[in-house]
């Protein structure tokens, strides 16, 4: 069964707007990771946030983690057409990642 569940399943916004995706999970984690997948391609790692961190930034990406609510959010600021992709959260125990079902983000030019 999936550990992480993303919300919404699909999101369409205008170029330049901010996009927010959420991830909820069920059990305790070591860390949480976000990945992007462009159509027909493999996944690309975006950011890793550890269980003792609350917020992390990488360029236009901002990730938050609330372990008390077992949830994380990914914010993409000033979206671009190239951000169109599917985004997955993945939670980790020790050696394995468990992926959610993803959010499909479409940026409208």
């Amino acid at each position: 069964s999936q550990q992480g569940e993303e919300d919404p399943q699909a999101l369409s916004i205008q170029e330049g707007e901010n996009a927010t995706m959420n991830c909820s999970y069920k059990t305790s984690i070591n860390n949480l990771q976000w990945y992007r997948q462009n159509s027909g391609r493999g996944l690309v790692h975006l950011i890793l946030i550890r269980s003792n961190e609350r917020e992390k930034h990488s360029g236009r990406l901002r990730v938050t983690l609330d372990t008390s609510k077992k949830s994380s959010s990914l914010l993409i600021t000033a979206s671009r057409a190239a951000d169109t992709a599917s985004y997955f959260c993945a939670t980790t125990g020790n050696e394995k990642l468990t992926f959610g079902t993803g959010t499909r983000l479409t940026i409208i030019p």
Binding site: L43, H45, T92, G93, N94, E95
Partner: protein, 114 residues
């Protein structure tokens, strides 16, 4: 794709035939993983390896076997392919365990079982 190749990239086969997918890395990473991706399910772990000849099962391992005789190669075998194994298969690698390391993914293999 971070020094990871998968072969073949596309394969169509018939029910009951054996199929082997190959993942090859040039990064000398210790960990290698096989996932399958299906609509509505995201990525699910089939098997993974934490060293040469060291492998373990993932979430959906039934019907699949793996082998790793060299650091750079991780093979996924479907002994007798079924239509339910039609999917896109991704290989991934990481320097250490997923608990603290990002994974790098290959380009995927699209397998169709008729």
């Amino acid at each position: 794709d971070a020094g990871i190749t998968q072969s073949p990239r596309h394969k169509v086969t018939e029910t009951g035939t054996p199929v082997t997918l190959r993942c090859h890395q040039t990064e000398n990473h210790r960990y290698m993983y096989w996932y399958r991706q299906d609509p509505g399910h995201g990525l699910r772990l089939i098997h993974y390896s934490y060293g040469v000849k060291d492998t373990d099962k993932g979430e959906v391992s039934d019907g699949y076997s793996v082998s790793r005789s060299k650091t750079e190669d991780f093979l996924l075998t479907l002994e007798s392919a079924t239509s339910s194994q039609t999917s896109v298969y991704f290989c991934a690698i990481s320097e250490g365990g997923a608990g603290n390391n990002e994974q790098f993914f290959g380009p995927g293999t699209r397998l169709t079982v008729l």
